[in-house]
Symmetry: none
Subunit: 203 residues, 4 copies
Amino acid sequence: MNVPLGKRTFIEEARRAQIIECAIEAIATLGYTRTSLAKIAELAELSPGSISYHFGSKDELIQAVVAEVAMMATSMMEPAIVAQSTATDALRVYFETNLAFMDRHRKPLFALVEIVTHACGGTETPGPYAAQHETALRDIEKVLAWGRTTGEFREFDPRSMAIAIRGAVDAVPAELLRNPDLDLELLARELVTLFTLATRRRP
Amino acid sequence: MNVPLGKRTFIEEARRAQIIECAIEAIATLGYTRTSLAKIAELAELSPGSISYHFGSKDELIQAVVAEVAMMATSMMEPAIVAQSTATDALRVYFETNLAFMDRHRKPLFALVEIVTHACGGTETPGPYAAQHETALRDIEKVLAWGRTTGEFREFDPRSMAIAIRGAVDAVPAELLRNPDLDLELLARELVTLFTLATRRRP
Amino acid sequence: MNVPLGKRTFIEEARRAQIIECAIEAIATLGYTRTSLAKIAELAELSPGSISYHFGSKDELIQAVVAEVAMMATSMMEPAIVAQSTATDALRVYFETNLAFMDRHRKPLFALVEIVTHACGGTETPGPYAAQHETALRDIEKVLAWGRTTGEFREFDPRSMAIAIRGAVDAVPAELLRNPDLDLELLARELVTLFTLATRRRP
Amino acid sequence: MNVPLGKRTFIEEARRAQIIECAIEAIATLGYTRTSLAKIAELAELSPGSISYHFGSKDELIQAVVAEVAMMATSMMEPAIVAQSTATDALRVYFETNLAFMDRHRKPLFALVEIVTHACGGTETPGPYAAQHETALRDIEKVLAWGRTTGEFREFDPRSMAIAIRGAVDAVPAELLRNPDLDLELLARELVTLFTLATRRRP
DNA sequence: AATGAATGAGCGTTCATTCAT
DNA sequence: CATGAATGAACGCTCATTCAT
């Protein structure tokens, strides 16, 4: 229905980027529920119809926001993680880059959290972000498997450990929302110590 | 007139309980956003106005659902936790009872998660459950402090550890939703081991 | 549909009176719009169904309230007015008794005003109290006609004078509502003087 | 883009004017209580949501109706009244212009009366138009005070006289509703005579 | 490329009324 | 006599979406 990806003009891309930015601002500030397309349009000094014009539907806009934030996060984290030479270091950098991203991009973070918690719904519908979460767990499991093969890590159920790791990271935004002065560097150090002790081969 | 007052109250309470049950069913199945009073009424084979009759407002119904589920959880978990004689055991039982509750009461669990994540909104408004979450963290911190005084636990930042513990527990419902066959007993054992290693005084 | 007038039991009458009293209280305090049968029932410590049982419909209850207040007013005013021997005195006593009633029975007064202004509606439906108002005007016109025949009064259009007289009286409740400390005795004296000067044969 | 901004505003203003007109029609015909946004929309051959689109809320629409009618009335009455050189003339023109307005703009008049009587409620809440009514009384009192200083008027309580004058004017719409053929020119002349006699210094 | 007026389904809520008990 | 649970229609309002311009 929309202009195909390859044929977007420069101005078209600029508009999309602007709308996405305003959507992030609105969702992070007002919360997902109180954010309507009209409010985003108002923030972008655009008409409500323009949003539909550029994104076809609300769902597409939300998806674009998620993609944008995910790309921001990935580009900031992935290179640093894969550059590590031990699984222990990779795990350490995983926490460090995750929390560093959260510290530096709070609004995109809050917007993403709002979207992920609200766009999913109920038992019957898996939600569009179940797959993404599964991917995140698998990425962690890869690092854990690596640590097992190198002998850095003790024996444990990788899925359980991955859940705990991802859970710790996912718990941060909510805590950050309640306490904006949270010391994320301290928290990162503590989480690194915690999971290093939890994963390392018994001494 | 001879009918005792409690009998009428019983009928009223039964209806309330039925509506709460249907609300849990609806929210767990459809998600918070897609659950309207009309849908709950339909599920309960009642008219839409009846919900308002029994609960006054949607907020009151939601609050009643939360209270119901919270009571179920508390009554199942608290006695077992406080019965422990060491902090390490208390922490262990914390994980065991939490995950046991999740295993046995999945729909109430999903409903509660849906409500808690949706009733809060945005950066500027704290949401009604921020305080509850803070309480949960403080409860964990109490156990951690106890373990410190007894010398069971190593030195660590209690808030960071509490965030990780709570994060691990909070990660379970989402994982359970994606994978209903998740082995919660295994997960509980692994989390106990994980956090025992992470908290214990270095050997 | 209801029990015929003649066959009301004592208890039935007592209940009706109690409900009417509570309806007056509710309407005078909350205003017509905010008064529901449920609120009246609550005030009367009765169930909402009982109101319908005793009055058949809301309209009937309202009608009963109007009848009650009208009877209170009439019984207080009419004897004094008809006892006068000159039209000028009758007009004087008309003002005096009207305002005295308003002073002593403020809640019934406010309730009546609320009902009359709200139960009537629009151009197409004459409203149930148009006839009553017409009767009130005719009663005033009778006094005016009497004053003309006795030569007390100058020539004027009786309907216009009646409208002004009734208008002055009807303006009092609204003013009383805005200013509860209004000196109604002063007002009565001033209105008597005003309309005595306005009606008397030129000197 | 060449189209001047005023043109769009013109369309918008035209719709607002049309909706206001239909609201007046509906309220005057059906009465305030029986007039819903849906009925107004139906009259304007619009969807129910459009009213909210143009006016945000019912209250705003009602306020716009009041402002519209008040402006019609003020523009018709005020210039003529302030142009008079004696208080007696000002009082005369006050009646004449008021009743002339009522004669020529009956539906707006009825609508305004409906709104003013229904937007207020009960003993405890003053209602948004209590202040307007007080202003109206004060305006009359100014004219009365003027007549006192010039020696045109006798001694009287200005508030009482103002209540009677305003009461006479306010009584007209109700009478007009019951009797559409009422001769308002005659009524105006009679009221002028009446209050001239009632206010003038004793001869 | 953009507008913004218009839509219409759905929301939570109120309330006079009914009726089995 | 009285209850109070239940109803269902109507209310004001929100909002993603459409479309003529």
